[in-house]
Homo-oligomer: 242 residues x 2
Amino acid sequence: MTHRVAAPPQLAISTVIFALRQDAAGNTTLMLPLVQRIREPHLGDWALPGGPLNATEDLSDAAARNLRETTGLEPRYLEQLYAFGDPARSSNEERVVSIVYWALVESSEADQAIQSRNVQWFAADCIPNLAFDHNLIVEYALWRLRTKLSYSRVAHGFLGEEFTLSQLREVYEIVLQKPLDKANFRRTIEASKSIVPTGQRVSGGSHRPPQLYTYDKTLNLTDQGPLTSKSAIRHNSETSTK
Amino acid sequence: MTHRVAAPPQLAISTVIFALRQDAAGNTTLMLPLVQRIREPHLGDWALPGGPLNATEDLSDAAARNLRETTGLEPRYLEQLYAFGDPARSSNEERVVSIVYWALVESSEADQAIQSRNVQWFAADCIPNLAFDHNLIVEYALWRLRTKLSYSRVAHGFLGEEFTLSQLREVYEIVLQKPLDKANFRRTIEASKSIVPTGQRVSGGSHRPPQLYTYDKTLNLTDQGPLTSKSAIRHNSETSTK
């Protein structure tokens, strides 16, 4: 009987990136980019973008670098999601613990992302069988996004600096996959005090063009309490002050 | 000039454990146990209980084992808090990424925890300078606990199976460090539909003893969506069905 000494667990960083994009039928849909694996295990399967942590790199910096390298994206919203470490998720040869981030990008930015045979966008609710436990990770990220929409300003991650109430409601409707009552939505959002009118209106021909709003900048996009101003989400803080 | 090849980051699991206990002055206070380090770096400093991840162990199992070994505690509530990986948190020799869990234990259980010269309980808002970045970790855990109290049934982690509305309010008052209006509190809790009357009253001499409540068991204590029934919080699921 031979005993192999188990190697210490390896660390990897992966990211679930969400954007609202047009699917093949032209409907705006919640989508995410996946990368086709070019090595074993799971050669040829789709997987979340990810890679190892460099020796001197913070976790969020590793997530941001990885995103840049695989997709060309630099999201406004980047936050730690969860660490996945079930021993059964790895091969027998090498145990990998993945610290997963999630990111939101605006549609216009997503349109400029790298597209290749190996990097493709899929509708979030219609993804193939992924490598490792990545289906569970996507499912959890979707749950977190939908939950967080109800009590935070996370929707801003999908929008430009200024937006109309209709555009904001559309984000909620697409992510939650259900129509929302216009008047109720306006009341709820106004009561939350998370957005402020810019005083401007959409330029255009209509008699009474809709008002433009912006998010209250005094509220942080990723509410992480004591971590907000610290290194744990340093990348996000830097990009959100652009 | 010599270059050392940087070793891959090591993984550690630490836990912030909260309980409501009497401080030296006899006031019920939010407290947590700390362990005095018996080796370098930070020899003699207080730190969170923690240790390495065993080769075949899930992350939450490692947290639970570690808690058992250092404090004798088996908390009802055990949930992943955050992964801390700033390179500056470690010594130059060895980089450590810590996946941190947080746990809540009932006062009666906390009273049976191991106490020794090397394991002591401190008031959560009055802890000494800790090893590594553990002060930041405690600060973040406190923030998470206080935030989560407002939208989840996390307070149950401090209470027995049955409790009165006064006992529940006391948990909120101690954790949030402010008095709460009795009638408002009752209205808010009843509107949340998270607790149900047991039909029993506290046994005792008073003319109209207070009603007993229990938490709605159909709601999970740690709401983790798709992860709830899966391995990520397996330990919690096992203990919460006792």
